[in-house]
Symmetry: C2
């Protein structure tokens, strides 16, 4: 086990909701931005843990899409706080499962005593990249930021097991084609505008997930069979079907109806909800698990 302890998790939701049938989604409006959501979540976790920026040794940002292309998101987040000690800032990206990759990497840092307290900020505002002509995606996503502080510990808590697999056959089932170095912003025109929005081929994505996830989940269980609870990425409205078809019979949280898919913020948000509702408690083993663009399947068992 790579030891680490969660000191606090806090989220920051946009004020505005949009309702699609029985589904509630959160969307930034007015002066709200990805950055304001992130800073608000961090201030909340500082308040709840009685810590401040001066206690932090490392800042990890794990969003899927950052606020700017340069510098990295973690440096821009750090800029919002008055601290001049030079805290290292690293971005880690496995899109929707970036929080799992961040915890995984941080567990090595903390277990080796490289750092003591790490701030992990997951923030995404997918509403900024949604195509309102695509009902399937437009009605699925929410904006959110979740801040977590983890600490090195001698207690019997930490990462027991982690596994990531990538199946690039699905690389174009969920994507934003334009806007970065491939199809640049300067090539945008009326004819190709939709290529700069998030696009999903939901049927292909689900087919590939159902083809690959059962075996990956089985491999996780074979390597770590002591799982009390599952916190899945809240990827879609058919989460229950995906869990059933993947033979995932452990109890799990499903809050898609009330919150939607929050991209990188989904997993820490759902973890926080499960903790608040005491669905999992200290000493138990939780499997954080998700599928992400790529297609990435990512899982990590955390002893709380």
């Amino acid at each position: 086990m790579r030891r680490l302890k969660i000191l606090g998790i806090e989220y920051n939701l946009p004020q505005k909701t949009e309702i699609f049938g029985d589904q509630t989604r959160y969307r930034i409006s007015g002066q709200e931005t990805q950055m304001s959501l992130a800073v608000g979540a961090i201030k909340k976790v500082f308040a709840s843990t009685n810590l401040s920026i001066s206690d932090i040794d490392l800042i990890i940002s794990c969003c899927a899409v950052p606020y700017q292309l340069i510098p990295n998101m973690s440096s821009l987040v750090y800029e919002q706080f008055d601290d001049f000690r030079g805290i290292p800032c690293i971005d880690i990206n496995t899109t929707c499962t970036s929080y799992i990759s961040a915890l995984d990497i941080v567990s090595y840092f903390l277990d080796a005593n490289r750092y003591n307290k790490v701030l992990i900020i997951a923030s995404d505002v997918p509403s900024k990249a949604l195509d309102n002509l695509s009902k399937e995606t437009y009605e699925l996503f929410s904006d959110c930021a979740v801040a977590t502080i983890v600490e090195a510990t001698n207690e019997d808590k930490g990462v027991i097991y982690s596994l990531q697999k990538t199946f690039p056959k699905g690389a174009h089932d969920t994507e934003i084609l334009g806007g970065a170095a491939g199809l640049t912003v300067h090539e945008l025109c009326d004819e190709n505008r939709r290529k700069y929005f998030f696009r999903m081929n939901g049927i292909n994505a689900i087919k590939l997930i159902l083809q690959e996830l059962p075996a990956v989940y089985k491999e996780m269980c074979n390597n770590c069979n002591d799982i009390d609870y599952v916190v899945p990425h809240q990827a879609s409205r058919i989460l229950d079907i995906v869990m059933k078809r993947s033979n995932i019979k452990k109890p799990y949280i499903n809050i898609v109806k009330n919150y939607g898919n929050m991209v990188s913020a989904s997993i820490p948000f759902a973890l926080k909800k499960a903790l608040d509702e005491r669905k999992i408690i200290s000493g138990e083993n939780v499997l954080l698990m998700g599928t992400a663009a790529g297609l990435i399947i990512n899982g990590l068992v955390l002893k709380l």
Copy 2:
């Protein structure tokens, strides 16, 4: 020491050069893209090491700006090869020093025997984001991709020491403001077009670097005084002045004149050149060091 061994490093330069006075720069043209550069570099490193994609356990992309915003760059790179084992794909970003952060993180993975052989791909095509009205930046950057394969080892080789610091006072001295989730592509108009290019306030950037780098370098030396050679990020034409004013008296490589600043590819490219020219040899300690947008200062001592 976190043990690891470099099995091979290979670069892939664009065919076209542009000459600005005595300075040579490389720019993609025709069918060349960031992805074609990356794939070419990877094929070269497979050839030089007699390895193939089926030997790789983990793919890390460490570019500053990826090919697409979603999925992550490493998954898109993996898609270009015929392999269906599900190699995990992670992106790590500290802009121009991302290669240092990647090696740093990978050293924990390898030292713990999590993975055996890791492919690290650094690729950037800054020419796609340059403003031809800004001579200072337009004449500085080159496009390039560099692929590295590192391996777990029992030999006396690996990461001896690493240190990163971020000084966000300089967050806006080097940036691309538009194109991601802050100022989105969909807000682009004729009036704000220049915000979607790379912008540099060179004087402010240099001031802050000269203010912070000497102390960070001194801290590195205090913790690891056995450095044979320095491979600095080829940040600008005044590299010699920055090295001198930062009291860095070790021998180092300066290839800015012939190659320019290659963003994330600069450090591995310069390392490869230094190895090829036998400026550093097996058993010696090389300090990879650089400044990056953020302002990030990053250093890592590698025993070769």
